[in-house]
Amino acid sequence: MAALRGGEALLRLAAAVFLLMAVAMPLGALLLQLGALRWQELPAVLGGAFDGAALLNSALLCLGVLAVTNLFGVPLGVALARVRLPGWVAMGVRLPYVIPPYVSTIAWIQLANPTNGLLTGLLPLNIYSLWGMIWVLGLHLTPFVALSVQDALNRVPASMEEAARVAGAGRREILRDITLPMALPALLASAGFVLASAAASFGVPYLLSASSSSPDPVLTTRIYQALELSPATGRPQAVLLALLLLVPGVGAPLLFRWMQGRRGFSVPAGGRAVEPVALPAAAAGVGLYVAVAALLPLIAVVIGSFTLRLGAGIGPSNLGLKPWIDLLSDGRLHRALLHSTILATAAATAACGAGLVLGWLAQRRGTALDRGIAAAARLPFLIPGSVLGLGLLLCWSQDIRFVLLDRVSLILSLPDTLWLLGLAYTARFVALPLDGARAALQSMHPSLEEAARISGAGTGGVLRDVTLPILMPALQSAWFLVFVPCFCELTLSVLLKGPETEVLGTLLFYLQSYADPSAAAVLAVLVVAVMGIGAAALWLAGRNRGAT
């Protein structure tokens, strides 16, 4: 038993160190920077930080994206749940959400930029404006709303709607009085997520404003600019902006959770699900969304990647393999590819390990401390990426020296290293395996572990022989769920990368904004291809598991 307690103490110590480095110190650094502000400096800092436009634009961006996602997402969700759809259409609805938003941004710039876009004129929209950001982000986040609505409606037992029919309600009344009200909690939850995602998005507004003559600034791009322009005066400004960003970024989900709680009902699960009906018009509508939001941008980047001079049309004289050959032989790509692969692999593995330990402690030991630690570890996922990145930058941008007993000194020198990016990625995404492990542990009856204990296994044996094998599928899924966003991460990387630590996201960002949009399109196709392979691997893993 003593050994067991020792082992648990070691686990808790590791968890504490990780939490200190990844959560407590970065967020503490933000607070310290805030506390260091003097009142008399405030007007100057504020004046330099924002002209009101960024704040207003961020608010409009949030509301616009919310409107677009619900306008498209609610009918899509109803169609997914209640209309018989071809399998590829139903699966395709997820695509726009899976494609990294900056890839679709590159695509839409090629499709709809005011001077030489392929669709310019067809689309009454200046892609370089706030409207363009709302359009791209709205299409990107629509699947989240649609799938939330679908999930909520699928869990409504058929008898709920049948009872209304027998009571005298027609199809329209059922949708209005029964079905949609029961999807309301799901809509509120998704609205909180959509608002937070829109406020926190960096890649879309930055890429769209980088090419614009009079860009519409938002809070995240202002934070980046403040730090780029002058590290000294920029930091207090960035911290103030980050504080503003927390209002929609964390406040909105909390507010909508509270509203959802006040609605105060959960749809009882169980019973037969509602049979979908055949409605070709609705199926065509879903197909149109998939075509516009996923297929069109994908086709655009693929064409763009073979275009020699973007904007000069897509005639045979302007198509060729040169962009691919140039990029594939470019040393910067090799370095970025190597860095991103190492970082994503390491971060996914570290996040799974940390998530397993934290989740097991919270779920099986369940002391207030363990549950508090698990909750704190989710923070970096909940706050906007720019805020986390800023905190990590403030905290780790200089060497940190620990002196023990006047003799031993440890120097932690992270700035401009892959270590810092790895720490950032792990901190950002540890919530995914943590949640996965907790959910799997929750659905795993404790008697499974108790039976192993009665059979004679110690704590280590139980974990090794019972818990871990049962959690393995959940952890495998979580590993891919962390690997994929890390592989093409942009928001954190752009703030934390050094001259020698270029990654794929930042390279794409650089190519699109400053160098060669055709090369950016090639890289975008590569990123999508890797993500597609990752998704296929995840799907295969799930299928093999289903088969055994």
């Binding site: 037992p157 008898s159 009872a163 029919r165 027998v166 005298g168 309600a169 009200p181 959960s266």
Partner: protein
């Protein structure tokens, strides 16, 4: 006649893989009658009820409700226009509405300005006084089923459909609620179609019972008739306990182990006797048997005995056993045997 079904069939799937759930049902439910469809799960009873409600479409056959055809060639009345009341096994209480909103909803669809008042009155009658403004999901299972019942009755339908309404509740509540449902139905002169797999529930409140098995209505009778005169072996063994013993017919008489049972004209062949536990008793002479167990159950004593290789049950008011049996009443069926060549 409140509800009349003629030649109703229903299959799921098509072609060779079709699963024929209801294989041609003819059924009449009289006015102000409590009629029960009883059978094991998967026998087609719920499908039959859902076809009456309009929630499933029959493949063939006709259905009339209150004299009006609702399913007939070229005619299919949707459920919302059939004017029925229905209680679901899962209660189907809408969680986003309060109790009174749930009950008043059918009247609101009919633009009744007094919907709320009427709903509150009805809630009183089902024993939910003062609970109208509670959120529906905060109620217990039994209370939810009362709300469901009130919602089904609010439009004063002539026909009430009950789809296993009590099976999600615990035993004591089941008895209490089924008595209450029967009282409400008789007071309002409702025609009730109850679907259940619980024979005690069916026997206790029904005027007539239809026993279904494998998509076929095997027998329709009042409860006593079903128990005393089962027409098929399935009905006999589904309603109450049925003993079976193998016997032979020789020269117009039935014998078990060479003991004469009774006269029965017919072919000389093996037969099977079916009889209730209370239709057999211990005697001084008769069929030899060996006592296996004895349980005192209060009003009677239950014996398990073996006769040769077979086991039977005896319910007796006396707790004394002996080594011989006498069968007072039994049914005789022929047993299919291998043909003479074999």
């Amino acid at each position: 006649m409140s509800v009349v079904l003629a030649g109703v069939t229903k299959s799921y799937g098509s072609g060779a893989a079709a699963n024929r759930v209801v294989k041609g049902i003819d059924l009449e439910i009289h006015d102000a009658e409590i009629f029960t469809l009883l059978g094991p799960s998967g026998c087609g009873k719920t499908t039959t009820l859902r076809m009456i409600a309009g929630l499933e479409q029959p493949d063939s056959g006709t259905i009339h409700i209150n004299g009006e055809p609702v399913v007939a060639p070229g005619r299919l009345v949707p459920p919302e226009q059939r004017g029925l009341g229905m209680v679901f096994q899962s209660h189907a209480i809408w969680p986003h509405m309060t109790v009174v909103e749930n009950v008043a909803y059918p009247l609101k669809l009919r633009n009744d300005p007094q919907a709320r008042t009427k709903a509150l009155e009805l809630l009183q009658r089902v024993g939910l006084t003062g609970m109208g403004d509670r959120p529906a999901h905060a109620l217990s299972g039994g209370q939810q089923q009362r709300v469901s019942l009130a919602r089904a009755l609010i439009t004063r339908p002539k026909v009430l459909l009950l789809d296993e309404p009590l099976s999600a509740l615990d035993a004591g509540l089941r008895v209490e609620l089924r008595v209450q449902i029967a009282e409400l139905a008789r007071a309002a002169k409702l025609s009730v179609l109850l679907v259940t797999h619980d024979q005690e529930e069916a026997m206790s409140i029904s005027d007539r019972i239809g026993v279904m098995n494998g998509g076929v209505l095997e027998q329709v009778d009042d409860p006593a008739g079903l128990y005393r005169r089962p027409k098929t072996p399935f009905v006999g063994s589904f309603i109450g306990h049925m003993n079976h013993l193998h016997a032979v017919r020789r020269a117009g008489s039935i014998y078990i182990h060479r003991v004469f049972i009774r006269e029965s004209p017919g072919f000389e062949e093996p037969v099977r006797l079916s009889f209730r536990p209370e239709s057999v008793e211990f005697a001084e002479v008769g069929i030899p048997c060996v006592l296996r167990s004895r349980s005192f159950l209060g009003a009677f004593t239950r014996f398990e005995v073996s006769v040769g290789q077979e086991r039977i049950r005896i319910d007796s008011h006396s707790d004394r056993a002996s080594n011989f049996l006498r069968i007072r009443e039994c049914m005789i069926e022929t047993v299919k045997m291998p043909t003479a060549e074999e």
